[in-house]
C-alpha cells in the first residue's frame, strides 16, 4: 500500500468522527439545564473516544509502514502532555514486527488471479489449426506481340503446422484462371538424428535455386526462360527426398530424391501413370556456401536430375545438369537498407529427342541425342528498405532446334511498401534468332501477403 493511502485513511476516519460528533444528540438547553459535572463527564467521554481513534490510527499507520517496502521507519511522535486533571493515556502496545511469508503471499495472489489465468488458457477445438497465409499475385502486362492484359496470376493459400513431435507438414493450394491446384502438400521430418530430413508428398524438388521458388517469390516478374524450358517451370515433383547436412565446419548440404517427374509443366511424363522403380526421375544436389567477409558470401550449388527411359510413355533417357552461384552482399549494420544479390544459374539439357516425324515411307521414329544450354544472371541492388532495382539477362537454346536461340534483357524496379506488399515494374526485350522474332514487354506486378508468413532459409 502506498504511504499516501495512510493519509487518506486518517482523513476518512477523522471525517467520519466529525460527522458522528455533529450528529450526536446533545441535550437541548431549553429542555434540561446541564450542570458542570455533567458537561465535564460528557467532555471526558468525547476525549476518551478521540484517544481511542488516535490509537487506532497509529496502529494502522504502523501496519501500513511495515507493509510498504522501502519506507523509512517513522520516528515515534513526542508524548503529548495530558490535560490537567486527566490521566495520561496509556502508551499503545507496540505492534509486533510483521513477517511477510513470500510464498504465502504469492500463493494468495495466484489464487486471486487464477480465474483470469484459467480463462486465458482455455483450449479451443480450433487451436491446433495450421497457420494460414494467403497471397494475391496480379500483373498488368503489355506486349507488342500479345497486346495488353490484366492477368490474375494466382491466389495462393499456404498452410503449415507441426504434425506431431516427429514431423511438420505444409500445403500450397493455388487458384489461377485455369483452376485450382495443390501445388505442394508435403510432410517433412523434424526429429531424425545426424542432420537428416526426409520430405515426401508433392513439393518443389531441390534442383537449382529459382526453380524451387513460387512465381510470386521470384525477384522478377517471370520465371527465367531456361527454367521454363528445361525444368518445366517450378520444380514440382511427386516423390521423396532425403536431405543431409554434413557435420563439417563447412556448410555442406546434400539432397537425393526420387520422383515421378520434375517440373510442373513438364509434359514428358504423366504423374498418374505408374512405372517401374527404375524409371523414376532421380536427383542429386550439393549445396555449399562460403563467407568471404562478414558482409559478403557466395552460395554454390550443383544439381543433376536423371530420368532413364520410361517405356510406357516412350520417353528416352534425359539428364539435366545445373550449376548455380549466388553472391550476396549485406552490410551487417545496414542489412535492411543496403546490399545486393547477384544470382546466376546455368543448365545443360542432355536428351534423346524424337527427330523426324514418322511417315508412311519411314514409319520408325528416329531419335537423336541433343544438348541444349541455357542460363540466366541477375543483379539486384537494395538501395533502401523499399527500393530494389535490378536487371536480368537470359539466354536459352531450343532443344529441338539447336540453332534457335533466345535472349532477353529485363530491367526491373521493385518497391516494397512493407514486407507484405510489393509493386514491381519490369521491361523485357526478347529476341529469338530463328525464326527471327523480337518483342517488347511491359509488366506491372502487384503482390500482397496476408496472414501467416515465414522467412525461409532458401529465400534469404
Amino acid at each position: 500500500m502506498h504511504p499516501s493511502a495512510a493519509v487518506w485513511i486518517r482523513r476518512i476516519i477523522a471525517s467520519a468522527l466529525g460527522i458522528l460528533l455533529a450528529a450526536a444528540p446533545f441535550p437541548a438547553p431549553a429542555q434540561q439545564a446541564p450542570g458542570d459535572a455533567q458537561l465535564r463527564q460528557e467532555l471526558d467521554a468525547v476525549k476518551e473516544q478521540l484517544r481511542r481513534v488516535e490509537q487506532q490510527m497509529r496502529q494502522q499507520e504502523e501496519l501500513i509502514r511495515r507493509l510498504s517496502p522501502g519506507t523509512p521507519p517513522v520516528a515515534a511522535p513526542p508524548a503529548t502532555p495530558g490535560a490537567p486533571g486527566v490521566a495520561a493515556p496509556p502508551r499503545p502496545a507496540p505492534v509486533p514486527p510483521m513477517t511477510v511469508d513470500v510464498e504465502e503471499l504469492r500463493r494468495m495472489i495466484l489464487a486471486d488471479i487464477q480465474p483470469q489465468l484459467t480463462a486465458a488458457n482455455k483450449t479451443f477445438a480450433s487451436q491446433f489449426n495450421p497457420a494460414i497465409g494467403f497471397i494475391v499475385d496480379t500483373v498488368f502486362s503489355h506486349s507488342r506481340e500479345n497486346k495488353s492484359n490484366f492477368e490474375f496470376r494466382s491466389g495462393e493459400i499456404g498452410i503449415s503446422a507441426s504434425v506431431d513431435p516427429f514431423a511438420r507438414a505444409y500445403a500450397i493450394i493455388n487458384g489461377t484462371p485455369d483452376g485450382v491446384e495443390v501445388e505442394e502438400a508435403a510432410i517433412v521430418t523434424t526429429a531424425l538424428p545426424w542432420g537428416f530430413t526426409v520430405k515426401g508428398g508433392r513439393f518443389f524438388a531441390e534442383f537449382g535455386r529459382l526453380s524451387t521458388f513460387h512465381d510470386h517469390d521470384l525477384p522478377f516478374v517471370n520465371r527465367p526462360l531456361v527454367l521454363d524450358r528445361f525444368i518445366g517451370g517450378e520444380s514440382q515433383a511427386d516423390g521423396v527426398e532425403v536431405n543431409w547436412l554434413a557435420p563439417t565446419p563447412q556448410y555442406l548440404a546434400f539432397t537425393v530424391g526420387a520422383y515421378n517427374k520434375i517440373g510442373a509443366a513438364n509434359d514428358r511424363v504423366d504423374n498418374r501413370i505408374p512405372r517401374d522403380i527404375s524409371e523414376f526421375t532421380f536427383l542429386g544436389r550439393l549445396h555449399t556456401a562460403f563467407s568471404l567477409t562478414d558482409s559478403l558470401g557466395i552460395d554454390v550449388g550443383l544439381s543433376d536430375a536423371y530420368t532413364p527411359e520410361v517405356r510406357n510413355v516412350g520417353l528416352k533417357p534425359r539428364n539435366v545438369f545445373g550449376a548455380d552461384f549466388t553472391v550476396r552482399y549485406a552490410p551487417l549494420s545496414q542489412a535492411a537498407y543496403r546490399g545486393f544479390v547477384w544470382g546466376s544459374e546455368f543448365l545443360v539439357n542432355h536428351e534423346t529427342r524424337p527427330g523426324i516425324t514418322p511417315t508412311e515411307d519411314s514409319p520408325d521414329q528416329i531419335f537423336r541425342v541433343r544438348d541444349a544450354f541455357g542460363g540466366y544472371s541477375y543483379f539486384e541492388a537494395r538501395l533502401t528498405r523499399r527500393y530494389y532495382p535490378g536487371v536480368l539477362f537470359e539466354y536459352v537454346q531450343d532443344i529441338d532446334r539447336p540453332a534457335s536461340r533466345t535472349w532477353a534483357l529485363s530491367p526491373y524496379f521493385t518497391i516494397w511498401a512493407s514486407e507484405f506488399q510489393r509493386l514491381r515494374l519490369q521491361y523485357t526485350r526478347l529476341e529469338t534468332n530463328s525464326p527471327k522474332q523480337t518483342d517488347d514487354q511491359f509488366f506491372l506486378q502487384w503482390t500482397i501477403i496476408m496472414g501467416s508468413h515465414a522467412h525461409s532459409f532458401r529465400d534469404r
Binding site: 547436412l245 565446419p249 555449399t288 562478414d294 522467412h455
Partner: protein, 304 residues
C-alpha cells in the same frame, strides 16, 4: 549423378572422428548480450557463440549458412524471445536439422519468460506494424529485466544440464548481485535524464526510458518495421517542436540521414546508440553496454 555420389562418399570419409574428449556445453545465442550473460552463468562449462555481432538490427540479421552449421552442433539455443528473432531464427533452426533446439524443445531457452512485457497489442493487425506481435521485445535495454533474463538462462541451462544446476544458480546469483550494484549506480548517473522527452528511430528504448525516468515521445518509423512516409515525418517534427522534445536517438543500424534531419528541424540533440552489446567497440559486455547508453544520453541531456 555418379560423380555427385562419389563426392558425397569422399566427404563422408573425411568427416572428423569424435575424439570422445570431455565436451563443453555448446551454446548458441542470438545476440551478444545473451552470450555475455551466458558466459557469466555457465563459466568454463560452456562454449558460447552468438549469431549476431551486435551491430545488426535484431529484426534483420542476415541468415548465413555457417549459422546453420553452428546451430546443428548446439546443445541449447538462447534467444531473447517475443518474436524479436523472427526474421532469422526459425529458418535457421529449420536449416540446422537439430531436434534438440527446435522451438519449445528443452534446448530452446527463451529469456523473456520472466519478463513483464510492455506494449502488448490489444489486437493483432498488420496495419499496426508487424515486428512486435507479442509486445515490445527489446527487453535487453533494461538492466532490471536483464536480471530476469539471467534467471531464465540459469534455469534453462539447469533444465538441460541438471548436474551443473548449482553452479549455474550460484554464478547467476553472483552476476545478479553485480548487476544490482550497477543498477544502483546507473539510477544515480541517469538522474539528469528524468522527465526528458525522447524520439527514437524504432520503438526499442521503451524499457530503458521507463527504467530511467525518460519519456518516449514517438518514433521516426511509422510503425515497428514500417519506414516513415513524408507526412509522418512532418507531423512528428511539428509535434516534437510543440512538446519541446530534446533528444533524438538513432539506433546505429538505422539510416543516419533522416534522424539528422528530424533532430536539426526540431533543435533536438542527436544521440547514436547501440541496441545490443557489441554495437560499439566500448560496449563489449552487458554492463558496459548499459553504461555506454546512459553516459551518451546524459552527455546529450546536459549539453555535453
Amino acid at each position: 549423378m555418379r560423380r555427385l555420389l562419389l563426392v558425397l562418399l569422399a566427404i563422408v570419409a573425411l568427416l572428423p572422428a569424435d575424439a570422445g574428449a570431455a565436451k563443453k556445453i555448446q551454446v548458441v545465442t542470438t545476440i551478444p548480450d545473451l552470450a555475455d550473460m551466458t558466459r557469466k552463468v555457465a563459466g568454463d562449462l560452456a562454449d558460447v557463440s552468438s549469431i549476431a555481432t551486435g551491430v545488426e538490427d535484431i529484426h534483420a540479421v542476415p541468415m548465413k549458412p555457417k549459422f546453420a552449421v553452428l546451430l546443428n552442433r548446439a546443445d541449447v539455443v538462447i534467444l531473447m524471445g517475443l518474436e524479436a528473432e523472427h526474421a532469422f531464427l526459425p529458418a535457421l533452426l529449420d536449416a540446422s536439422r537439430n531436434p534438440k533446439i527446435r522451438r519449445d524443445a528443452p534446448g530452446y531457452i527463451d529469456t523473456s519468460v520472466y519478463v513483464p512485457v510492455l506494449e502488448v497489442p490489444s489486437r493483432l493487425d498488420r496495419s499496426l506494424g508487424d515486428q512486435h506481435p507479442m509486445g515490445n521485445p527489446h527487453i535487453n535495454l533494461d538492466p532490471v529485466r536483464g536480471k530476469s533474463m539471467v534467471r531464465a538462462i540459469a534455469d534453462g541451462l539447469a533444465r538441460n544440464f541438471p548436474e551443473h544446476a548449482s553452479t549455474f544458480q550460484k554464478n547467476a546469483a553472483a552476476y545478479t548481485k553485480e548487476l544490482d550494484a550497477a543498477i544502483a549506480r546507473w539510477q544515480q548517473e541517469a538522474a539528469p535524464l528524468k522527465g526528458k522527452k525522447l524520439v527514437s528511430y524504432h520503438p526499442d528504448l521503451i524499457y530503458f526510458v521507463e527504467r530511467f525516468g525518460l519519456e518516449a515521445f514517438g518514433t521516426i518509423e511509422m510503425r515497428p518495421g514500417i519506414d516513415p512516409t513524408p507526412s509522418h515525418v512532418a507531423d512528428l517534427i511539428e509535434r516534437m517542436r510543440q512538446a519541446k522534445v530534446e533528444i533524438v536517438v538513432r539506433e546505429r543500424h538505422y539510416p543516419a540521414g533522416l534522424a539528422e534531419t528530424v533532430a536539426k528541424a526540431t533543435g533536438a540533440k542527436l544521440v547514436e546508440l547501440p541496441a545490443m552489446v557489441g554495437g560499439v567497440p566500448e560496449a563489449d559486455n552487458y554492463i558496459a553496454f548499459i553504461d555506454y547508453n546512459i553516459r551518451a544520453l546524459v552527455k546529450a541531456a546536459t549539453g555535453g
